[in-house]
Each structure stands twice: as C-alpha cells, then as structure tokens.
C-alpha cells in the first residue's frame, strides 16, 4: 500500500493500463492514507470519499474500454478555493461555511473529463490570503516535514498533501507565490503558469490580475501532466489566452544545453538564509554542468515588488470580496440589525483578521484622495517591474532564484507581525506582477532537515522551457524523491 501512494503518474498509468491495479484500489490506498494522517496535518477541509470511489469506478470502466488519458484514475486534491460541483467549497472562510458549489470550475471540469479522481478539498489560507496556512477558519495545516512548522501558504494544504502522499498531484492557486512558496516549504514541485494560461473560471477570486491556478506534484513530470489537462483557452474567462497547449511531457527532453540562465543579484542579497543560498547556488551549478550557461543580471525594481503587490492585490481583493454580504449565499449575521447592520456584522463575523486587514488596506488604497498615491502608483511601478523582466528575457531563457529567503518557519512565528509575513513572499511576487510562469522545486535540505527550494522563471507562455530545465535537474538529482518521515 505504501507502494501505491508513492507512485508517480507515469508509474500509476502503466500499472493501471496493464490492469495490475485498479483505480479503485489506488484511490482506497490514498483515502486510507488521508484517514491516517489528516488528524495530524489537517491538510483537507473536506474529503470526498464517495465521489472519489464513484469516479474511480468510472475511471476503471474507461481504462477497460481503452479510453484512458494520462490522468484517468489518478487521485488528485483540489485547493478549497476552486469550485467543484457537489462539494462544499469554503475558501477556508467561515463566511462560506456551508457553501455548496453549484457549478464546476473549468479546471475541475477538465480534470473530471480526463477521468481524474477527486479525493477532497484542500486547506489553504482564507481566500488565499496568507503565506503560512495559519489563516484558515478550519484550523492551520502542519508541515509534514516538521509538524511544528507551517507548510507555507496559501496553497499549504495542496503542497503538504502531495508531500504527505495523500494524493498524487494537487491544484493550488498562486497570487503572490501561493503555489511556489508552500512547494518550497514542503519539498514538492509546483508551477505557477503564465497569467492567462489556465482558466480562472470557478476559482474564487482573490486578486484577479494576479491569480493563476497551477499544479503541484512530487516531480516536474507529474506537474506537467496536470498542467496539460487544465491549461488552455476558456471562453468563460476573458483573460484566458487562446494559445495552443503544447504537450508539456514531450517537452521534457532532459536537454538544457545552451540554455541561458540568469541569476538576479537582488535575489541573492543579504537576508538570504545561508543554507538556502548554498543549495540554490548548487542547483544553478548543476544546470551549468548539464550545459546551461549562467550569468548574473539585475532586476533593479525588486525591492518595490512587495509594496506594489500589496497595494494591487488588496485593492482588487477589497472589490472581489464585496459579494460576501450575507444576501445570496454564505453566512448571515445580524439579521435584526437592519441592512447596514447585517452587512457589517456578517462581514465582521464571517471574515478572519487577515482578510479584514487586506480588505481595509485595499479599500483605503482605492478610496477618494488616495487612489493616485497608492493604487495608480502601484500600477505604474508594476510596469517598471515588468520592464525589468523584459530586458532580462531579451538575452536569457530563464531566471533562476531562491523560492523563499528561509526554509519553513515555526507555527506562530510571524502571526503577530503582518508585515514580516508579507516579506516572506519577496522572491515569488514579481513573477505574478509580470504574469510570468514560475516553477518551484526542491534542491536541498537545511541543517534542521527542512526542504529548500529554488525557482525557475520563464518567458510568457514558455512553460515548456521552464519545465524542461526543472525536469533535467530532477533527472540528475534526488531531492524531489525524498519523503518526510
């Protein structure tokens, strides 16, 4: 059984297609694993064993009829900010405590069509706002490598579940690093695709111009399989781009010869943990030994990224979260307090402190008299940050950088200081502001035995190169195969 939960998608595929195992057996193995570990890790907000078994049986029929694609019969977990019809979808918020998704997100519909098996809805920071998964109304999630530590956020449940082998792959969302940072903290591989590559339809919005759904797996190859399934134009999302979807797996040639890799100086500056610096530099050298070239470059506006991000993301969030007002769905409080009272009590009681803080900040940034100084200013700086990347990508194929300044921190360590928490996203946020694909993957271990990650940032819609380099690295290293105790 521990053998079944350790399979990669390709291995599982081969054994399913050879009828050595059934999808139902595979699914039962994961359901048992969830059962055994959920209490300790709290990775799931809800599990969907019945739906999973029904889907597994259906997948087995498809496999028998020879109609099985790569994901058919594969157990997956989905971040609870993504709607799946027939599941409760909470966005980790009390305000959506008993919200039944009335329709499928496009990514879920595509996974269903591919025959994937949905084992449950994964914990995250409330409305994807956080970097530690401590902001969930359904309890914090623990890091499988050290349960006193955070798994990262906001897709902490998605990363931790893959690390703990509760599902083979999972979906997360990444607005400022929410896939890559927890992937780094949990020692797994996560990709934030180019903005517009994956449909946002049915994904509960945090910051619309930054949000992107992406895959998390134990290897680049697993992530590539899931990306292939979910990517592509969706006429229900006006910001999704109508570019052809390449076969990401066949892009994984192992060949990185001649790839020009840039190392941004600003990402290796003071404040970077020594273990992290050493591991990331070693990863860069590994790619060099495989035939890539390395050069130092500058992304001069890096120091402005967090400020820019927190103004834009919170402004959009303040508007996106206005719909949670106790009228049409979700929790209602203060029904006897008049309309204004009902609004204010519902939102005060339904949202957690971090969400309220960001709504306040975003409302302030957009309000009369402040718009130009904050929101409009941040949009202009966003342009400068994008230009930095454009000029680097004029001469390079990839940017290589640490994913996080430190390995996973302790639970409670930063909860009293929102700004310190925001600063942990320093290396991931720029890719969101510029809309670029970013892949986080493990490359080392700290003195405490915690995973360390690095990231590869690519040109728009060039997920293939990003994945190819990451896969080449993983072919030559074994960090991604290590498992938490």
């Amino acid at each position: 059984m521990s053998d079944l939960i350790s399979l990669s998608i390709d291995e599982a595929r081969r054994r399913l297609d050879a009828r050595e195992i059934s999808s139902l057996e595979l699914t039962e193995a994961f359901l048992a694993r969830i059962e055994a570990t959920q209490g300790k890790l709290n990775t799931f907000i809800s599990t969907t064993p019945e739906m999973a078994r029904a889907q597994a049986e259906e997948a087995d029929r498809r496999i028998a009829s020879g109609d099985a694609g790569p994901l058919c019969g594969i157990p997956v977990g989905v971040k609870d900010i993504i709607l799946a019809r027939g599941t409760r979808t909470t966005a980790a918020s009390a305000i959506l405590k008993s919200y039944e998704a009335p329709y499928d997100a496009t990514v879920v519909a595509r996974m269903r069509a591919a025959g994937a098996v949905l084992v449950g809805k994964l914990n995250c920071d409330e409305f994807a706002m956080g970097s530690s998964n401590e902001n969930s109304a359904y309890g914090l999630t623990r890091n499988p490598w050290d349960t006193d530590r955070v798994p990262g956020g906001s897709s902490g449940g998605s990363a931790a579940a893959v690390a703990a082998r509760q599902c083979i792959v999972s979906l997360g969302t990444d607005t400022g690093g929410s896939i890559r940072q927890p992937a780094a903290f949990c020692g797994v591989t996560g990709l934030k695709p180019t903005y517009g590559r994956v449909s946002r339809y049915g994904v509960i919005a945090f910051a619309s111009s930054l949000d992107q759904v992406g895959p998390i797996g134990r290897s680049v190859r697993d992530a590539a399989h899931l990306l292939r399934t979910i990517a592509g134009h969706d006429r229900l999302d006006s910001t999704s781009v109508d570019n052809p979807v390449p076969d990401y797996c066949s892009a994984l040639t192992g060949d990185v010869r001649g790839l020009r890799v840039a190392l941004p100086r600003e990402y290796f500056a003071d404040g970077l943990d020594d273990d992290v610096r050493r591991a990331v530099q070693a990863a860069a050298q590994q790619l060099q030994s495989l035939g890539a070239t390395l050069e130092d470059v500058s992304l001069p506006h890096t120091e402005y990224a967090i400020a820019t991000y927190y103004l834009i993301a919170t402004a959009e969030a303040s508007s996106n979260l206005a719909r949670y007002d106790g009228t049409r769905y979700g929790v209602r409080l203060g029904n006897d307090s008049g309309l204004l009272g009902m609004y204010r009590k519902t939102r005060a009681g339904g949202f957690g402190p971090e969400v309220k803080r960001r709504i306040m900040l975003g409302t302030h940034a957009l309000s009369a008299g402040y718009y130009d100084a904050y929101y409009a200013k941040a949009q202009k700086v966003r342009t400068l940050i994008r230009r930095d990347f454009n000029s680097v990508f004029a001469n390079y194929d990839l940017i290589l950088a640490p994913t996080t300044p430190t390995p996973a921190f302790k639970i409670g360590e930063k909860t009293d200081d929102p700004l310190q928490m925001y600063l942990t996203d320093i290396f991931t946020i720029s890719a969101n502001l510029a809309g670029l694909p970013g892949l986080a993957l493990p490359c080392g271990s700290s003195a405490d035995g915690l995973p360390i990650g690095f990231q590869l940032i690519g040109k728009p819609f060039d997920e293939e190169t990003v994945l190819r380099a990451g896969d080449a690295y993983q072919r030559d290293t074994d960090w991604h195969t290590r498992l938490p105790q």
Partner: protein, 484 residues
C-alpha cells in the same frame, strides 16, 4: 420673472434590446417570474467571470453614431464599488475613464420656436443594470429579484445645458425617438427600460459658475421629469432667496405628492472606488466596424423630417410630429404612396389615427404592428374625399367603420349609401325647401348677418344626413340668397 436660471443635465439609462444579458447568457427579456432569468454569473456567485456580449457594443456604436458622438477605438471597463442588495457582486461593471463614446449632440425644437437648439452630450457609456429590490410594506424584509441584473444599459449623459423642463422634455422625447428608430431600446418608461436622472442647479442669470446641484431620481415618465424639474427649480430658488444654501444630495421624486424629497440614508456615504475591471480586457473597436455600422444606420428623425418638408411640402410642425416615431412615419409614407395628398394624409394621421393610437396605448409598443386602420384604407378614404364622393365629415364616420377590419372605404360608403349628393337639381330643391318660410332669417342675412349662411348649410346637411356636397350647397345657397 426670476433673476435665476436653471442648469439641467440629464443622465439617461436605456436598456438595450439584446436577446441576452451583457456578461452572461441569461435572457434579457422583461416580465419573467422572479429570478427566472438568472445564473451563477448574474447572481454574483463566487468564481464567476464576465464575457462581453458583442451586440451591446454594436448598439453602443450605433447610438453614438446616430447622435454624432466620437466613437472611441479603445475604451475599457471599470468597477464601481458599493453595497446594495440589488448589486450582487458589490460592484457594477461600467465604463468610467474611457467610455465608448464622447461628445455628440441632440437637436431639439420647442413648440412655437422656428429654430433648433443643439443640446451637447458629454458621453455615452455601457454598463450592466442592477436587480430589483422589492419593498414589502407589511413585513420587516425586502425581497430581491435579479432578473434585470446584467441587462445591458447605455448611459447617455448630457452636458448641463438644458434650461427648462420643456427643453428637458423635448430632449428626452427626441432621444427616445432616435433609440427607437435604431431599435436599440424600446423606450418604455413605465417598465423602466428608458430611465432618467436629472441634475438640477440654479444660478443667477448670466453667471458662468455652476450652482450646487441636486440629483433627482425615480423619474419614470416624461411628466415626472418635467414636474420634478419645475418643482426643484422652485424649491432651490425659494431656498436661495431665503438665504439658505443648497445641499448637494440625491433626492427622490414622489409621484403621488409631486415633490422631491431628500434620501437621507446614512448608507449613502458614497465613495465608489472606481478602478479598471481586471476580469475584462480593453475594448477595441476597429475603424471597419464603425464604418460598417455607419453604413447600416437608418434614416433618423431629423433627416426624415427635413425630407418630409421638402418632398411632401409639409409644414415643419407636421413633419416633426410624423417623424417622431419611425412606424408613424412609415405609415404616413405608405398612405401617401397610394394616394398622393400629403397634407390631407398628414392631417388624418395626426388627427384620427394618432388619437386612437394614444387611446389604445399602442405607442407603448416599439413598433406598432396592429394599426387601427391600415395605410391603404386611410389612403382610399382620403381619395374618396378628394374625388368628391364623400365629405370630410362623412369620412370621419366611415373611418370609424374601418376600425379593426379590412373593408375598403368605398365598400363602406356604398353599403351605407353615404355617397355625396352632387346632383344640382336635387340639391336645388332641398335648398329651396329649407329656405321656404324662413323669410326673417333670409332678411337678416341680406342685412349683412353673414353667419346666417352657416345656419342654412347646417339645416341642409341635417336634411341630407351630411351627404350634400358642401361646395355645391354653398354655391346654390349664395345664388338663391342673392337673387330676389
């Protein structure tokens, strides 16, 4: 008169006649059961995203071209943020800093004036309509229906350049006529598909600075708009004369009491926090698209009215009335095409035909399909007058017989024996009969009392049940009264 002048700007919200809503595939039709025309998108469920209906943009371009705006080749969408139960997302998707149309004008002419006045426009933008809150007087709750939520709107904003309720009324009627010509809006004020908010301020005659304005809402008929403007001008003038200052505020028109009253809700501390809508990309309209729409524009009321004056030699007033509605103008031209007596047809259309149209409220339809009398019947009827078969008076009664059927006027005249008596001998004997024994009245006439002539004509008509040829009667009568 007053030494103040009124400064009035109108914001018109016109619901567009699309089949579906602006950002989702729900029906945009009026009158469905509550919340029937809804889906996750127009209820503002978590995770939904808007996709723009092409027809809305087409209608925006069409309207902009018809009222001489500059169509913007790049415009964009913004969010207007506020909380209200009829606004499911907590923001309205609208256009703010870059609307689809800028500038433009609507030309109006007041009754009795011999010149047009051109009312300048600020802009036209597209946006989504809100749902409907239903206030139940008997409970402590309100109900919300999202059928209307997401129905596409054009907001047409005039410059504050109107000076009176009469100008405002003329502007609105003209604008509505144009939208109806274009078939982009049915113009129904009662059903709320053509709505108007009025910004009203006053200032000393001759001043150039604007006074503090009040925004008046809930104006759901032309009459409300005009009455509310008059009321507001008077209220503000009185206040200023009394040394009070005007508060910038939103006021509601109370249709029953015919007053405006302040909306003093503490919830209306507005700061809309507009920002560009990240779920929709910029809206690009190609020059080709604009050209195509321009080529497809129908003849509009002003052009048509000018043509009616030159082609049919109608008085400007007639031309204006006839072209105020496209279907009326079409009807007129159909009748003239059959019987070319434009002025007579115009008189009949403006008189009998429009009277019945108004009585039956047929003018609430975007296009009148069921005319009470067809253009062919009307033309036939006027032909009978013109060839002397019947008198105008008889024609009015024949007209009644033609209502809601397809009989020919000639057959009605024949059936009822209404042909005019034009036989001189017969008429002479009738005239003689009437004059017999009326010597004192004849004497009065001869003494100069002209109007006795009318008395005799009346008697003759009575005797012939109106069928006597009036021209002939007059001739014979004058001859008889003069001789002796």
């Amino acid at each position: 008169m007053t030494d103040f002048e009124a400064v009035i700007g109108l914001e018109v919200h016109a619901e567009l006649l699309t089949a579906s809503k602006i950002f989702c595939g729900c029906s945009a039709k009026f009158g469905a059961a509550p919340n029937e025309n809804t889906c996750p998108l127009c209820i503002g469920m978590p995770g939904v995203l808007p996709v723009l209906n092409r027809q809305v943009v087409e209608f925006g371009i069409k309207t902009g071209l018809a009222i001489h705006c500059e169509i913007q080749q790049r415009s964009r969408w913004s969010r207007k943020n506020y909380f209200y139960p009829d606004l499911p997302k907590g923001y309205q998707i609208t256009q703010y800093d870059l609307p689809i149309c800028l500038g433009g004008h609507v030309d109006i002419r007041l009754e009795g004036e011999d010149q047009d006045r051109s009312i300048p426009l600020t802009r036209i933008h597209m946006e989504e309509d809100t749902g409907k809150n239903i206030h139940d007087a008997h409970t402590d709750a309100s109900l919300v229906d999202y059928n209307r939520c997401g129905v596409p709107l054009l907001e047409i904003v005039s410059e504050p350049d109107l000076r009176s309720s009469a100008e405002a009324g003329a502007y609105l009627r003209k604008l509505r006529a144009i939208l109806q010509y274009l078939q982009v809006c049915d113009g129904n004020m009662e059903e709320g598909s053509f709505r108007c908010d009025a910004n009203i301020s006053i200032r000393p005659q001759g001043a150039t600075e604007l006074g503090t304005k009040a925004e008046i809402k809930n104006l759901n008929s032309f009459r409300s708009v005009e009455r509310a403007i008059d009321y507001e001008i008077e209220r503000q003038t009185k206040a200023i004369r009394a040394g009070e200052s005007i508060v910038q505020e939103t006021r509601l028109w109370d249709t029953d009491r015919e007053v405006t009253r302040s909306m003093r809700s503490k919830e209306s501390a507005h700061d809309y926090r507009y920002f560009s809508e990240p779920d929709l990309l910029p809206l690009d309209v190609s020059a080709d698209w604009i050209e195509r729409v321009k080529g497809e524009l129908p003849e509009l009321p002003d052009e048509r009215s000018a043509r009616f004056v030159s082609e049919y030699e109608l008085p400007a007033y007639d031309a204006e009335v006839l072209t105020a509605r496209k279907d009326v103008a079409d009807y007129f031209e159909a009748a003239v095409g059959i019987h070319r007596n434009p002025k007579a047809v115009s008189n009949w259309v403006m008189g009998e035909v429009l009277r019945i149209v108004n009585d039956r409220k047929l003018d609430q339809e975007l296009v009148i399909e069921a005319w009470p009398v067809s253009a062919q019947q009307l033309a036939g009827l006027i032909a009978l007058i013109d060839d002397g078969t019947i008198s105008g008076k008889i024609a009015k009664s024949v007209f009644e017989d033609l209502l809601d059927n397809d009989k020919s006027p000639a057959s009605v005249v024949e059936e009822k024996g209404l042909s005019q008596v034009s036989d001189s001998a017969e008429l002479e004997s009738i005239v003689d009969g009437v004059l017999a024994g009326q010597d004192d009245k004849i004497a009065e006439y001869r003494a100069g009392k002209e109007k006795m002539l009318g008395f005799f004509v009346g008697q003759i008509m009575k005797k012939t049940q109106g069928k006597a040829n009036p021209k002939l009667v007059n001739e014979i009568l004058r001859k008889r009264l003069q001789s002796n």
